[in-house]
């Protein structure tokens, strides 16, 4: 066995985990499976690409690699802009589409179908603006550093892992220790009662979109940095995202992250033992198995 699968799995898994957190948050608070969530990853990646490119054109010194990493300061700055703008995009989609459907008290299936429509629109727009040709944040090649035990990782990969860990811990603290976190948990349990108690449900919904889309943007930028930026990157990650959100237990942030890592690792090991052509099937197998045997997921509470 090649221990490198462990590192590959962790890196992919942390991207899946960050995306799955957004899926699990929207699912638990807005009560529908948002199939457009993958597109937020892709949009985040492309916005960062555009901003980073513009910054590099304005100030070429920003393109010089920072320390051991493959990218210059243009990318972290662009990432912050991408997080904010992807959050804004999610709010815009909500205002134009989901919010209107909520106001009409639409059923879940209408919301889900609307999210399919939103996904198609967002993806086609990306393809229209940026073409289907893969793009890269940087042309620099990185040498993987030996970590011992046969493991190797590039500085970019290690940074991604660390950043994902920090984000998950921060979000967990936000949900469990702060007023907005308590309000989010309250709305997720009983929206009407939350209103009666004085929680502004609209504010909670806005927060959920901003957090979910912001994390999706980070995951998209990681995917773009470690692999490549493509209009279909969100669609390709959609099944793993849902597998992780459901495996982790809907509503559980640590669960989504842990499950993301499990899905990522399983995929990586499957590539080794079964063959790369089966990679895409793994998330599907996990999804079906969880739905059959433990529908509430690892950390979920039975309905």
């Amino acid at each position: 066995m090649n221990p490198q699968a462990l590192m590959d799995g962790l890196v992919t898994g942390s991207m899946i985990g960050l995306g799955a957190i957004g899926v699990t948050l929207t699912y638990s608070i807005l009560r529908f499976a948002n199939f457009a969530h993958g597109e937020f990853l892709a949009w985040g990646a492309y916005i960062a690409l555009a901003v980073s490119g513009a910054l590099g054109w304005l100030a070429p010194s920003l393109l010089a690699p920072i320390g051991p990493f493959s990218f210059g300061w243009s990318l972290p700055i662009a990432a912050i802009a991408a997080i904010a703008l992807t959050g804004g995009l999610a709010l815009l989609v909500d205002a134009l589409l989901f919010g209107r459907l909520r106001a009409q008290r639409s059923t879940v299936i209408i919301m889900v179908m609307a999210s399919f429509g939103a996904a198609l629109t967002l993806r086609s727009l990306l393809e229209f603006i940026f073409t289907a040709k893969p793009a890269y944040y940087t042309k620099a090649l990185q040498i993987a550093l030996p970590l011992g035990g046969g493991l190797r990782a590039t500085p970019d990969q290690l940074l991604s892992l660390g950043l994902a860990a920090i984000l998950v811990v921060t979000l967990h603290v936000l949900l469990t220790r702060t007023t907005i976190g308590r309000s989010m948990r309250a709305v997720s349990e009983n929206q009407q009662l939350a209103g009666v108690v004085g929680v502004d449900v609209r504010k909670v919904i806005r927060t959920v979109w901003l957090l979910g889309a912001g994390l999706a943007a980070v995951a998209g930028i990681m995917a773009g940095l470690l692999v490549q930026v493509r209009p279909y990157m969100g669609l390709d990650l959609l099944l793993p995202l849902f597998a992780a959100a459901i495996l982790g237990g809907i509503g559980s942030v640590p669960g989504a992250m842990l499950a993301g890592l499990i899905v990522g690792l399983t995929e990586a090991f499957a590539v080794q033992f079964v063959g790369a052509e089966w990679r895409a099937a793994i998330a599907f197998v996990i999804l079906v198995a969880v739905l059959l045997f433990r529908p509430q997921g690892i950390f979920g509470r039975p309905e």
């Binding site: 939350a194 209103g195 009666v196 929680v199 449900v201 509470r301």
Partner: protein, 251 residues
């Protein structure tokens, strides 16, 4: 000052409400409760009692008419803003956050208070409900039915509302626990909180209420002092009538 001299705390004028526009459940109710009163809303099943109080709380659409808290019209105030006007509502079921701890339930309600008053109010509620104070970090879902009701009431009281509306707090509780809940409500009322109580448990509710109103088919059909209504034949007819009819038919 007698009860009838006190200013009106909560009132409705020709209130029409219901989930569907063309199917009003509450069909024009004029209601008023004075400050410090405890009024029970009675009526047979399906009379619209619950819809009536939910419409006041902003949970059921009001088609026409008004609801006022003191002099302020609160008809179109969104549900989450009503608590800021001093109107607290305790729903019948699922009236606590089961996945949050006792303390978190109270903190959530305290959030609309100025920061410096939050801890003080929660401490005051713990003083009133020692059962809750004993285990603040316990998940509310693990509480018994009676304790859940107490938590729901405590949470409503955190913000010191002027009017407290409760939708069937006795539902699903044993008679002993009902007695406890009702004596707590009476004690809260005696501290000056105006209480509107929707109840099926007629006897227990009339025992603590000052006044009762009876809703039938979405209309306010009868009202009077609780003490006299307890023996009123109309009350007996409204509640026992349904049970008497099949008997009479069978005879």
């Amino acid at each position: 000052m007698t009860a009838s001299d006190r200013p009106v705390a909560l009132s409705t004028k020709a209130l029409v409400a219901g989930y569907e526009r063309d199917l009003p459940i509450v069909r024009g109710v004029d209601f008023a409760i004075r400050q410090g009163e405890l009024v029970v809303v009675l009526g047979p099943n399906g009379a619209g009692k619950s819809t009536f109080v939910k419409a006041i709380a902003g949970l059921v659409p009001v088609h026409s008419g008004t609801a006022s808290l003191g002099a302020a019209d609160i008809t179109s105030v969104p549900a989450h803003e009503k608590i800021r006007h001093g109107l607290a509502f305790v729903p019948q079921t699922e009236n606590i956050f089961a996945t949050l701890s006792i303390h978190e339930n109270l903190l959530l309600a305290a959030n609309i208070l100025p920061k410096e008053r939050r801890q003080e109010r929660i401490a005051a509620l713990y003083g009133m409900f020692p059962d809750l104070a004993a285990r603040p970090s316990l998940r509310a879902g693990q509480l018994s039915g009676g304790q859940r009701q107490m938590l729901a009431v405590a949470r409503a009281l955190v913000v010191e509302p002027s009017v407290l509306i409760l939708d069937e707090p006795s539902a699903g509780l044993s008679p002993k626990i009902v007695a406890e809940v009702f004596s707590t409500l009476k004690a809260i009322n005696e501290t000056g909180v105006t209480i509107v109580l929707v109840e099926q448990n007629v006897k227990a509710a009339l025992a603590i209420a000052d006044r009762a109103v009876i809703l039938v088919e979405g209309l306010l059909r009868h009202e009077g002092p609780a003490a006299t209504l307890a023996d009123d034949p109309i009350v007996a007819e409204l509640y026992l009538g349904a049970r008497h009819v099949p008997k009479a038919a069978g005879q």
